[in-house]
Symmetry: D2
Subunit: 347 residues, 4 copies
């Protein structure tokens, strides 16, 4: 029986990326799965390709409204909606439907965190879709609800988890992440215009105010088994896609680079999508563009007594849409890597 897949929020960057990946997915290509409803908000009624000109194979698809009726009758529903909108939509979907949410609604475990950063009532907490974390795959296999991590938390967590879990880093971390503009979505804000962002690097959400901060702290707290102080600053740089996160923490006394590398190699030895680069090579976002890969590298700065881990991810791929498809694969019992490349489109 064919798996029917819907994508709510198909005009946005996350929705477009999910569709790009699904079109190349073996289950869709061989007919085991098919794309059903593609829905939008105010653009319902228009052609998908007016908003996603790259999705040529879907050139005749018209966007539906995002509602109970249009999303009914599907086995999988991806939600790629503005933060806060997934909760109400998800309530309308039956318990047997696999719902993969790319928004923040169901990521946080503390209602107070949600309230503080989003200002509304918390919708709840779903299994957290970062399969590379200890124990995560068990929860995701066969799951019917998945909260896909945010793009910054994905790379920051993978970059710092092994060091904190192994007690090699002191739990006061500083993360400064250069990001492409697609992470901000298609909102029509003057500071996101091409004329403003090209040739320009700018800061925003400084001082712990970015909404991904509590999610990072939640993940790293589990790694360290204690509360972790997180100083997180995103930087907007002139590219569409990609995050390069520089993540640093004080080294615990006596830590060696050998120990550090061993901790990361052990943590990610069997992970298809996380690569600790050989010594001497540093991550770059172009090498993971369009792919589901995360590239990591570690330095131990003995003068400053700090560990520095740099991680690269494509915010739309592994950072959102690719992570979502990886979770779908796990939840449906498909091979976890199906339809997901580890090779970036470089240069």
């Amino acid at each position: 029986m064919t798996i029917r897949i819907a994508v709510a929020g198909a005009t946005g960057y996350a929705g477009g990326e999910i569709l790009r990946l699904l079109l190349a997915h073996p289950a869709v290509q061989d007919g085991r799965a098919e794309l059903g409803t593609l829905s939008a908000g105010r653009n319902a009624g228009s052609l998908l390709v007016e908003h996603q000109p790259q999705l040529v194979p879907l050139h005749d698809r018209v966007l539906a409204e995002t509602d109970r009726e249009t999303l009914a009758g599907h086995d999988v529903v991806f939600l790629a909606l503005p933060h806060g909108q997934s909760g109400p939509v998800a309530e309308e979907l039956g318990p047997d439907v696999l719902v993969v949410d790319c928004g923040a609604d169901f990521r946080l475990e503390q209602a107070a965190d949600w309230k503080r950063f989003y200002g509304t009532e918390h919708a709840g907490t779903w299994p957290y879709g970062l399969p590379e974390l200890p124990g995560a795959r068990d929860l995701l296999r066969g799951a019917k609800r998945v909260a896909v991590p945010g793009c910054f938390p994905t790379v920051s967590t993978l970059a710092l988890y092994p060091a904190l879990a192994a007690g090699l880093a002191h739990p006061e971390v500083v993360i400064i992440a250069a990001t492409g503009t697609s992470g901000a979505g298609k909102s029509l804000k003057p500071n996101l215009l091409g004329s403003e962002v090209m040739g320009n690097a700018s800061a925003y959400g400084v001082g712990g105010t970015h909404r991904h901060t509590p999610e990072i702290a939640q993940n790293l707290g589990k790694a360290a088994s204690e509360q972790v102080k997180v100083s997180f600053t995103p930087i907007l740089v002139p590219m569409s896609r990609g995050i390069l996160a520089t993540c640093t923490a004080p080294a615990e006394p006596g830590v060696t680079l050998t120990e550090l590398r061993a901790a990361y190699e052990k943590a990610y030895a069997d992970e298809p999508f996380v690569t600790l680069l050989p010594e001497g090579r540093w991550p770059q976002t172009a090498a993971v563009l369009g792919s589901n890969s995360v590239h990591l590298q570690i330095a131990l700065d003995r003068e400053a007594d700090r560990i520095v881990v740099v991680g690269a991810v494509d915010n739309l791929a592994k950072g959102t849409g690719g992570g979502a498809v990886q979770c779908m694969n796990l939840a449906l019992g498909l091979p976890e890597t199906a339809g997901l490349s580890t090779v970036g489109v470089a240069p």
Copy 2:
């Protein structure tokens, strides 16, 4: 029996793209084909991923020399070498080996054209790897030698062929093509440094001096069944990949847009990789990035009495590496579209 594939020139942008595409090719993924020798020039002996950090699955591959011995024992050899070097290498390869050349060596039919633009003796002429041209597929099916077209000729030819073939355009064409920098390869020239190209548009090869000019004229001459005057100017713009070619010619008297669209629709109706966009939408390179698609759109300017066709292509994908894989598919009798996407990695 497994098809063994070698890539000569694996450190360059064309070689890297061929490998990216082959890694995702179903024949490689299911073991019907495998990657053998990956060779280089002065970088022989080093790890491939030092030059192509995106090719994670090939992280342990060491580059061989490009010579008779290393290329022996393969069923398919891709040549992604500097212009003029394919001739000698190809001579060493047996007649049963499929040789797909991404260089210019075997594209031109007139030895005088080669001599004039390259200054050396002409190596010969091979079947021309643009399957979308009339009659081309017949020559490419089962071929053992294929000359992959240049990136500018690919998009320019597809953009102007139907109008010229249908007698709707006068054979004096002007083509001005904005190109990303990867078309210039990895040559270490000051004008290709990031600091020079970012925030900058520049002209080069103006006045018919670009080496792709005779190849374009050769193709369009076949379309028009007469000599075509070609004024071709490439423009370097601040992006890595992509060509946007604006191709214009005087309209023959009385031509209508309806006739024009009909000619293109007829020419490309069954083509999987060429799309005439619906009226009102214009090509953009991001929509074809990393894909094998060419997007076209036509205008008829009644004030200027000219036809204007705009085409977008990824110079490394359909413009080189993707075109090469498409030709391999045809030559080996595989499905023509195997391993080739029509969906660009946008935004």
Copy 3:
């Protein structure tokens, strides 16, 4: 007595550039002139630097409404308003005020051209602010009304005028101009978002539909002393500023490159802002960024029998704000080059 200068439309890119240039203008620096009202539309009441963070010396300036009262009492008023809005505002300004309009309202001589491309009633025709054209300076010296040329017409006209005026080029021209995104202003359109324009080249206004087409034809018609067929296509490329225009026309029989160069050298010998580059060097937009310079180079393509002239300009500087200040200098009897650099901010 101090010259009081107002800028209407101070939040836009043209307005910001005019202010940048005026702050560095010797007359402002030594107190002979001063900045009075800076006005805006819906942003009236907010701080200028919220919209123009680069204008640090004006950090305490609040934006006024654009109306009769706020613009009263000035000797010079720059209008940097959306097309069609300058007419009504200008009517309110007395005949002794120097009004320099950066919009299209007063550029065209034929009311029918305005009607066709803008759809409303034509406001009139003012002296055309391209001092480099024959006879233009005489009209601009002491003028009280100046229509600053459009950015594309500035570079296209300077690129083709000498060849047409000398009868060296046939009056059927093709102009394809790669432009940065700032030419489109700060309009909040999805296709102008950074995520859309970076890594992307796209076409728009193809087929003679761009509003600068009749202005180019008007200028070139004067050069040729007959009607000129103009095929103009703008291309959007990933940079904020700069236009690189490739302008081509059939060469008249027997024309030589020597003749061509002589025509341009003669035309621009005494021009401070127009440079015909030495043979072998080609224009690039970075070399004129932020400056009032136009760089030109010519090729004669004997195979295609065409002249190709490439021109580079900063669309906001010489293409708008710099051209406006140059006209102000002429109109006020100041040195024409005052406050205007010929040196681009490169790289």
Copy 4:
């Protein structure tokens, strides 16, 4: 008597920027100063504008060798040479010549630091050209030797000095600085090619290995009056110019944002080139492009107990060439701001 100025290393990015600024300098414009020798290394004998096409007013200047003879007879010599080359050249210049060195040779006070990061013998220590530091102007006025700070140290020092000097920040700082590619100069390295840097963010010099680290530590140590642990990581982002430095340190107990802002306002109240932005606005590099401005903003993150200061600078302007001209002004007794703009070329 005319001040004669030479620039050694006129083909590089720093040399080009110094010349751009000098051409607009009032002393050069009114003839009190003039440009003498412009010298180069292997490009001696060629035209300056072949390497610096933006320097139109110097179009007939031929590059001299960099040696004792060519640099003789000048009152001011700017050295814009590769690190380690200024020492030998400076030795040849008389004690009455003002020598402004843009290299690292004379910045460090500890010979051991030089040895460790550059591997050769230390040339010595000159007055440090950051006039905004306490006491620095006294040393720079009338100085005959000036060591211009590095670009990263300029912005990092200005960003953290007041907080450390006022005892508001704990002396363990983390600095992560996104930089344009021009900071790496014109070296022909594959990773600096446009195709590699566009659409890409990458890390380099991680773990305290970047050569600017000891210079930053030296400056901040003076601020804190004790040794400061500095963790410094530069990030390469896709733009030509600009540095956005995110600088963070633990807040000392009880520190308030009001105290912090007061410390910065006091430190920079009379500084023409350093601006603490109003609350709510964050630095961006475009706003300072081509200018001598540094923009700063501060956050106090109470969850992480950290101070975060973000600073923006143009690495070639205030970060090198502009800083050099500012120092020349001071040393010659000219107005400190002569020829230096505070207005960036945005967008």
